[in-house]
């Protein structure tokens, strides 16, 4: 899983049927200290996160499909947690 920060959301009318009524967030990757890295991803939100929140993102297809309860959904990235604190030694 990867650490990131929510920097925006996506509103979409025309989309793949699986994504109807799914909440999509734009998440930039951060290091353990919370400093933004260059890359980002768009993920389904399962934990009611909002812009500015530090989040935990699962970026793997089989685990993501298990969370959304589908065997054949075209989904790979899911926000699975909101991070309070990270400590690294």
């Amino acid at each position: 899983m990867i650490l990131g920060r929510v920097i925006g959301s996506i509103t979409s009318t025309i989309n793949h049927p699986f994504y109807d009524a799914k909440k999509l967030m734009v998440v930039e990757r951060t290091d353990a200290a919370g400093v933004p890295l260059t890359d980002y991803l768009i993920a389904i939100d399962t934990v009611d996160s909002g812009p500015g929140d530090r989040v935990l993102v699962l970026d793997e297809g089989n685990g993501a499909r298990q969370i959304v309860g589908s065997k054949d959904a075209p989904v790979r990235s899911v926000i699975v947690g909101i991070v309070d604190a990270v400590s690294s030694s």
Binding site: S9, H16, E28, T38, I42, A43, P74, R76
Partner: protein, 90 residues
């Protein structure tokens, strides 16, 4: 998924079985500020409604093929939706 801008269409005359009728679009990947990043790629369009100039989000890898019907097709990028509003940092 990542953000991209549709910059053109691709019309193949012969395609692998299962890909008949699937729209193929040229997509320029974007970074989180919306600026072009890297070279363009060709993506299948699962919405069948995207067109040049539109901001889209697309999936890459194995999940790209899962967005199509039939799903067991040789595709590595597929447009999942068209962005109405939102995105990354302005």
């Amino acid at each position: 998924m990542l953000l991209g801008r549709v910059i053109g269409t691709v019309v193949p005359c012969v395609v692998y079985e299962g890909l008949e009728g699937v729209p193929m679009l040229m997509v320029q990947p974007l970074d989180k500020q919306g600026a072009p990043k890297g070279g363009p790629l060709v993506a299948a369009d699962s919405t069948r409604m995207a067109g040049p100039g539109e901001l889209v989000y697309y999936e890459g890898g194995r999940e790209a093929a899962l967005a199509l019907d039939p799903w067991f097709v040789p595709v590595d990028h597929t447009i999942i939706g068209i962005v109405d509003a939102g995105g990354g940092r302005p």
